[in-house]
Amino acid sequence: MISLADVVKRFDAGGGFTAVDGVTLSVARGKVTVLKGPSGSGKTTLLTLIGCMARPTSGRIALRAGHRVAIPGLADRDELDVTRLPERFLAGIRRATFGFVFQQFHLVRGISVIENVMLPGYPSGEPYGALRERAMGLLSRFEIARCATSPVERLSGGEMQRVAIARALINDPAVVVADEPTAHLDSRLSHAFMDTVAAIRADGKTVLIASHDPIVFESGVVDVVVEIRDGRIVEGAALR
């Protein structure tokens, strides 16, 4: 469960610009939530705020349970306010609680598929062997184990997508965040992606997607659709 209260994100550059303007929202645990809206509506920024990639200018974002970050003095609290935490701890939360799938997949070029999948695991200092084994497990789950050692440049769009999902799942996160995941996929692959989302949801994970693709927000897997425009939630958002 993630709850946002009156969250504002303002950028100073270019004479000031408010990307997210007073959003109050709850993301339910174990559900698939879609943030829907045109490009420039602030949904990506909202996603970075929820994913602890950036701190809001004001407002409050709280994570409840599911986080496994050892923060001295806060470990025993039920609800964690992430708005005041320094970057050091946010990184730890990102690593342990969230898995990210980016619009352009953002695989690191020049290294192999398996190394890309293992990247989020390096900072935790987990033994290389165990990490690799887990990565292999995920790759075979998404049926791309045969490409494990090939460089990412050789992959097709659908394969890249699956590598990106495997990377998002490597640290067994409670929440998977995806930003316009189908923007570079054709319809067939987009439907395949939604099937994968259904599988992830079946694992008990929370999924949060920002998209303006009807294949995504009209999919039967989606539990909640939140419409965003000009940094605000459009009232009367459809709830299924």
Binding site: S58, P72, L85
Partner: protein, 331 residues
């Protein structure tokens, strides 16, 4: 001035250190002016990044400080060949009025910078970074000391003239000639050793008390602060005799020479490490009530106390080993 490549290397590294500290202080001042915890403004976010920069810069500066402390001793030791009357680093450092102050200040700076880094480390562990302002203020105090250190070192080398006759350690640390060095040396060996082992015992005991009850960190730090000079005193007046196997040689610098297996580097590294860990354990005690520090400080203190005890015991073991294997017996 002796234009030895090592001298140049030291001057270069002290200039680099000063530049780094100046840069860190400037950033520290920026943080002091604009820090507003809890704010999510871009300014605050930028300052948090600068905070990380300051830690990184001071960390490197401290690493250089430690290396250059030993390198300074090593160079002083090597240069003695070029100075009339000098037999080891003691003579070189005595060649003008800047040598010993530079060495003492370097040592003090190392201990202070080590403490600062520990405080900094504790601060970054706290989710609310409660010590940022304190630590920036401390940095502004620390920086001038390092500048002074660079200055003293430069003056020391600049004024080092090969034709000035200096005293060798035999006369500096010889008994019964007056002066601090010979006072140290003329301490009778057995009481000096007794004093050292008594202080060491008290320190270790206090450390154990702290580990059991989580009380008395400040007292432990004070004892560590006493152990350091007590160890030097015992080294000059007693342990040196066993290291050199000579009843009259008391020099604390000749131990650095190859003839004695460079054992001095081990001894001084152990003492410096122990003192830095012990002192910072005490310094942290001042902050253990501030916000998240209540959860951060105690485990950190425990580790520091362990480290300090381990380093001091390493020193004690090393000298005891020398005493046992040495053919020299005090009368």
């Amino acid at each position: 001035m002796i234009l030895h490549p090592a001298v140049l290397a030291l001057v270069v590294s002290s200039l680099l250190q000063s530049a780094m500290l100046l840069f860190a202080s400037w950033n520290g001042a920026l943080i002091l002016r604009g820090w507003s915890p809890g704010s999510g403004s871009e300014r605050q976010l930028a300052l948090e990044r600068r905070n990380c920069l300051v830690s990184s810069v001071v960390g490197y500066a401290l690493a250089f400080q430690l290396l250059s402390l030993f390198f300074f001793l090593f160079t002083a030791d090597r240069l003695h060949i070029q100075l009339t009357g000098a037999m080891c680093a003691a003579g070189t450092l005595n060649a003008n009025g800047y040598g010993y102050p530079a060495l003492l200040l370097k040592t003090a700076d190392f201990l202070l910078a080590g403490t600062w880094l520990v405080v900094n480390h504790a601060d970054t562990r706290g989710y609310d970074a409660p010590l940022v302002k304190t630590k920036c203020r401390l940095l502004l105090l620390l920086a001038p000391l390092l500048f002074l250190d660079a200055f003293l070192q430069f003056r020391f080398f600049a004024d080092l003239e090969p034709d000035v006759i200096t005293s060798c350690c035999g006369s500096l640390f010889g008994s019964g000639k007056g002066g601090l060095a010979s006072d140290l040396a003329s301490w009778p060996a057995v009481p000096a050793m007794g004093l050292f082992f008594a202080v060491l015992g008290a320190t270790v005991a206090m450390g154990v008390v702290f580990l059991r009850s989580a009380r008395g960190a400040v007292l432990f730090a004070l004892l560590c602060g006493v152990t350091f000079p007590a160890a030097i005193l015992a080294l000059v007046s007693a342990f040196s005799l066993y290291i050199y196997d000579l009843p009259t040689h008391h020099c604390p610098f000749c131990v650095l020479q190859a003839e004695y297996g460079h054992i001095g580097y081990l001894l001084y590294a152990a003492l410096l490490g122990g003192a830095a860990a012990g002192l910072s354990a005490g310094a942290l005690a001042a902050f253990r009530k501030r916000g998240s520090m209540a959860a951060v400080v105690p485990p950190l203190q425990r580790r520091l106390v362990w480290t300090a005890i381990a380093f001091f015991l390493l020193f004690a073991l090393a000298v005891s080993f020398r005493i046992v294997v040495s053919p020299y017996r005090s009368g």
